[in-house]
């Protein structure tokens, strides 16, 4: 057997992870009504990240598999974040940091 299968969750473990995912999804649904605006987005993304971590760690065996799998996945997600941040750093600061254009690239009022 592989290193992974020695430590993988049994059937009960998988069901437990699934239950956690269902609970978290339901929580997201209710919290989305309670917490709105920017905080609502943050809460939703945090819970989504927890769910994603559960899926990746237990269903995809990242938690007990080879380290290189974790590195590959982390690097990919890291660059995804770099792209989003790079774009937001532009769009988000145009009205502050540009004399010439606003967020939409329209000539800014001076």
């Amino acid at each position: 057997m592989t290193r992974e299968t020695d430590h993988e969750p049994g059937a009960a473990g998988y069901v437990a992870v699934w239950l956690a995912l269902v609970v978290l999804a339901t929580a997201t649904l209710f919290l989305s009504r309670a917490v709105t605006g920017g905080w609502g987005l943050a809460v939703a993304l945090v819970i989504a990240s927890v769910k994603a971590t559960l899926v990746a760690a237990f269903f995809m065996h990242l938690a007990h598999g080879r380290p290189i799998h974790r590195i590959v996945f982390a690097v990919a997600i890291g660059f995804l974040v770099v792209l989003v941040i790079g774009v937001l750093a532009d769009v988000g600061t145009r009205s502050i940091a540009s004399s010439y254009v606003d967020e939409l690239g329209q000539p800014a009022p001076r």
Binding site: A25, F59, M60, F73, G86, L88, D90
Partner: protein, 216 residues
Amino acid sequence: MTAAVETAAGPLPVQYDSLERQHATARLGMWVFLGSESLLFAGLLALYAAYRFVYPAEFHAASAHANLVIGTANTYILLTSSLTVALAIHATRRGHRRRTVALLVATIALGLAFDVLKVIEYAGHLREGLAPGDYYAFADLPARGVVLYVTLYYLLTGLHALHVTGGVGALIWLAVRAQRGAFTPHSHVALELGGLYWHLVDLVWIFLWPLLYLIR
């Protein structure tokens, strides 16, 4: 020239000296592929982030017309399908061929249900005039900004649904092979790879659901 290594499943490709190494290489290859596919969605997510930042009110107003019932149902469907495919692989490791096939069929059914619900959802939106780009014809909301949400909605969920459909195809092929007894407790790497791909499809939806359906 040394002969290729013989295994129960036939000779190994010549560059491998053990079945275990070949399987480990296949798993690594799949993880690299999954990393790559994540970047495919990254561009759309960057567009989403930029446009939502610039048009918060329009995104909020537009997403109120998203089909929360179908979106949420699809979330539970995909989460459950991840469970069934994980249990299918678990069953193979225990040598339960019939259980494996049954669980794979369940996964396929859930995946198809996702696709069917998506089609119903799209049809509903298009009837209302919630169409992308130049075809936007929704009377209640002016196009500017709103149509960007709508177009991104179709692009994100459409790209995702393509991946779901591809995954369903792969799972059907795996189920047929499982039925024919191709997988043993010690050798079922194709099944593992299919499972990994399916979990990625679930992962993407875990983020798409709050981003598209739960804007408040």
